[in-house]
Symmetry: C2
Subunit: 291 residues, 2 copies
């Protein structure tokens, strides 16, 4: 796709899967100013008409591929008639000198926020990309119903799903997360990324911190969060901060803490069915056997 | 594990998954004369006592990891109480000069046979490794019931499952395959491996060709085989040869030919449930809701 052509989508590969199609796509992102990739699972029902869209935001180091390959979600997306969309986790190959230096910032670590600092702000606009640009692009090429969107994610992507979901009550009917980073501004692990992308003003960081945002946005959408208790990152994920913020603001939260599970896709695969059924309650209630 | 210590198993990593445990292991193989790796899924029921073992033999270029990561089989192994075992697809790092040169022979391409030719015969003994050494090793370390074994596989591993299953009616109660190589001695794609491992005597090749073996071994075990019709390797897989041999010998075969599916793990994941339920009929009939 050259020269730069926003609006055009190149199909990189497709695979038939559970009666639908897993596809990998690339397009020139106007918001990120570079090519971006995403994967999409079109359930069989999309041949009959527009289906709800459920976004999965992936964790650090992931691309648009990991979830489609490892989570086993297509089985349930096919059953429930949900279109799954997985964006890449950052812009890539932007020419920023230390873009690939560290796994907690730069490529693979976009943190689903809009960077305000040089050199990142030119390309690292993942918040606007996911919230604004990607849905419009999808609607141009696929039978998606943008009035029925849900969002979920894992780890850094769990943070992204919570932040994007909470800040956009008008856009996402349902939110869930697996082992999300719940309070990134309080963690030494995640703070370096926030400093690079957003500068040293803590007030700016709070726009991208689920625990802080829960105090600002009050609405009836319940949250489903799963957390493994053998997760090596547990101390930095801080689900207890999320639980406390939900308690203080009266937000409905189902926080399930599972012994023995770690941070891997084996954990995600074990619980993904529950997440798709959670979202289906709000996105396509008619497809569920029980309320 | 040094010095060479057959019988000892090193656990490389474990992950909790659907209430059981995915583990990756290494041991010094007496048969292959080098370290070998396998993965094992222990379903939750293994904590109560020995469970049937279902082997999955993987395709060209795979390791012991691909199936565990991509197929989503643990969901059903946990439900049915099946122990899943996935051996690596060949010896590795043996020092054979062109071991890593070509994807259709050498490392990642053991073809589940016992090589008789130099330099391969010293290490490439995958048939005896899978049939004889690995089960005994498993029984020493895990709660497995070797009286209840089944075998399945994909592509080169589908060939392996058919060959090993057919030749060992006393060891495997059930056999299935996904997109198996059904008649390798008739394919230009697979013949180079057979020539290197077994020399140029076609009679020796027939010991490892499912279509040929069906003429020799007659028993009541039914075969389940799935094949995608958009599989780019379809011409070399030759499911029609398998179908013809089964027809001629009165062997029960369910050959399901699926439009649109290709050769990938998206195909495997879409159909793996049916394979586990096929094997469970023979390995643990009490666990099935319907006969």
């Amino acid at each position: 796709m050259s020269p730069f052509d926003p609006g055009a989508i190149a199909s990189l590969q497709t695979h038939h899967c559970f009666g639908g199609t897993v596809g990998f796509y690339e397009h020139d992102s106007r918001v990120c100013g570079c090519p971006m990739r995403f994967s999409l699972y079109a359930p069989p029902q999309m041949q009959q008409g527009p289906r709800p869209v459920l976004y999965f935001l992936s964790g650090l180091t992931c691309t648009e591929e990991n979830f489609m390959v490892k989570a086993g979600a297509q089985r349930f997306a096919a059953e429930l008639g949900l279109c799954l969309v997985v964006p890449d986790t950052s812009p890539r190959h932007t020419g920023i000198p230390d873009e690939d230096t560290d796994w907690v910032y730069g490529s693979g670590a976009g943190f689903y926020l809009n960077a305000t600092q040089d050199p990142w702000k030119r390309h690292y606009q993942m918040y606007s990309y996911v919230v604004e640009e990607l849905p419009i692009l999808l609607a141009q090429a696929f039978a998606v119903d943008l009035d029925r969107q849900g969002i979920m994610g894992h780890s850094m992507g769990g943070h992204g799903a919570l932040v994007i979901g909470l800040r956009n009550g008008d856009r996402y009917r349902s939110i869930s997360a697996l082992a999300p980073i719940c309070h990134p501004i309080a963690s030494d692990w995640t703070r370096p990324a926030f400093e690079r992308y957003l500068g040293d003003t803590v007030a700016a960081w709070k726009d991208y911190d689920a625990t802080e945002l829960l105090k600002r946005y009050v609405d009836p959408r319940p949250l489903l969060v799963d957390q493994g208790l053998s997760d090596p990152f547990l101390q930095d994920l801080m689900p207890q901060s999320l639980a406390q913020a939900c308690a203080e603001t009266g937000r409905s939260l189902t926080l399930r803490q599972h012994p023995d599970y770690d941070h891997s896709y084996y954990f995600i695969a074990s619980l993904i069915e529950d997440h798709l059924r959670h979202h289906a309650q709000f996105l396509c209630p008619g497809s569920l056997d029980s309320p």
